[in-house]
Amino acid sequence: MSALRRNATIALAIARKDALAELRGRQAVGSTIFFAALVLLLFGFALGPDSRRLAEAAPGLLWLAIVFGGLLTVARLHQLEADDGALEQLALYPVDRRAAYAGKALAGAGAMLLLGGLLLPVVAILYGVPLGAAWLPLAVTVILGSVGFAAVGTAYAGLTVRMRAREVMLPLLMLPIVAPLLLAAVKATVAAVAGDPFGELGAWLQLLAGFDIVMLIAGAATYGFLLEE
């Protein structure tokens, strides 16, 4: 079997394994999504009740909720490895580390997509933002944002999973890194919802794509070093 096919098999096997564990795992996925929705609700209390102000802030609040939920998501995907010492075994399998990274990042992106997708209707309802017409650019934005967050989140979660104070270390490292992702995703969302009056949607999506590519390459290149203890 060629190396590329083998790596693809490995990545898919890992992603599948993570997806199975996630879907069966004691409602952890549901809890994270519920948490993110709660965050959106609380933002309403913090910034409301002026519905116009909330509607204006909605894209930013949406992506903040995705980021917070995302932190929990990527942490969880590595925590499931740490629980019974599975991470040590994973590090010892004779597989290309880049394939292992790809598998975990794929699982992470999938989980983030689910999160983002489910939060969109919540935002639409809570903040009165009409999302239906712009569903395609919104979908692309959520996909690109999810991939980017998962790309760097997988690397950093792998890095912090065995560390002291990992619950605070992961956000501490992640938040500055994803600032441009947050910025671009919000601007793209704003543009999409408004029908792209200034023609800037394309530029923001390109920035997101650039972030994704750069972080995927960096993550794949360095994940091997993080798995070794």
Binding site: M1, A13, D84, A86, L92
Partner: protein, 259 residues
């Protein structure tokens, strides 16, 4: 009882001549914070030998096994496995070593079958063989009735059996076992003994640490006793211990000489 299938890694460097030592360490030392888990272990283990690793708690058995498995790097010292520099080419070592650790290393939310099939894929099996090999291994260790149950529902003994099954899916030249008898009933321990015999029969080198000293010594060619991170005693055949490498008082390091 159908014959147990054991897969063996191919010999490195061709079939002629005597094989390199399975394990060749030189002054292995490992620190964890303030304590020295290993303080200089130099051992040479011939290929195909079964070695019992004994010693009190804290003697360094687990640390030594983890270093041999390339799960952690030593703080000092060198290590060659089957003639390959383990510190420079751990990825080669990982294709040839199977390691049973304290924790079973399974995913609780997956079934036994799914866990083993995942392991088989990771260990290089592909296609239809994945399921076949996994199923066979699960049957070998007596877990066939619970193959489709989630590992989260397993007892400690069942997890241990499953971890042993994972060893049967690998193709090693070196098997490292850290307390394989722990949490097992009499049947389970007999299974471990049987596997030890099979590995030996197939020429696979085994290093096994166990509190069931009598069982492993009986099954082993040689015994290595550790104490305080050092080799206290070696007996039997096929294992040689080196003299303590001196801790150089004037230690030349890349960052200058420590005096």
């Amino acid at each position: 009882m159908p014959q147990t299938t054991i897969y063996v890694a191919p010999r490195l460097g061709g079939a002629h001549g005597s094989p390199p030592p399975a394990v060749d360490t030189d002054g292995l030392a490992r620190l964890f914070g303030r304590s020295a888990a290993l303080a200089g272990v130099s051992l040479r283990i011939e290929a195909g030998r079964t070695v019992a690793l004994l010693g009190p708690n804290g003697a360094g058995k687990t640390t030594l096994l983890r270093i041999l498995a390339t799960a952690i790097r030593p703080s000092f010292g060198g290590l060659f496995i089957d003639g390959v520099d383990a510190l420079r080419h751990p990825e080669i070592i990982r294709t040839r070593v199977a390691y049973l650790s304290h924790a079973s290393g399974m995913y609780d939310d997956l079934t036994a079958s799914e866990n083993l099939r995942f392991a088989a894929t990771m260990l290089g099996w592909s296609g239809a063989e994945v399921a076949t090999v996994a199923e066979r291994a699960i049957a070998e260790v007596g877990l066939a009735p619970v193959a489709d149950d989630r590992v989260g529902t397993f007892s400690a003994g069942m997890r241990k059996r499953l971890a042993l099954a994972r060893l049967l899916v690998a193709r090693p030249s070196l098997v490292l076992l850290d307390e394989p008898h722990a949490a097992l009933d009499e049947d389970g321990m007999a299974l471990v003994d049987r596997l030890l015999g099979l590995w030996h029969e197939f020429g696979i080198t085994v290093v096994v640490a166990s509190h069931q000293a009598d069982r492993v010594v009986r099954a082993a060619d040689a015994t290595v006793r550790l104490h305080g991170g050092l080799v206290a005693e070696v007996s039997g055949s096929g294992v040689r211990a080196g003299a303590l490498a001196p801790v150089i008082p004037s230690h030349a390091t890349p960052l200058g000489t420590i005096r």
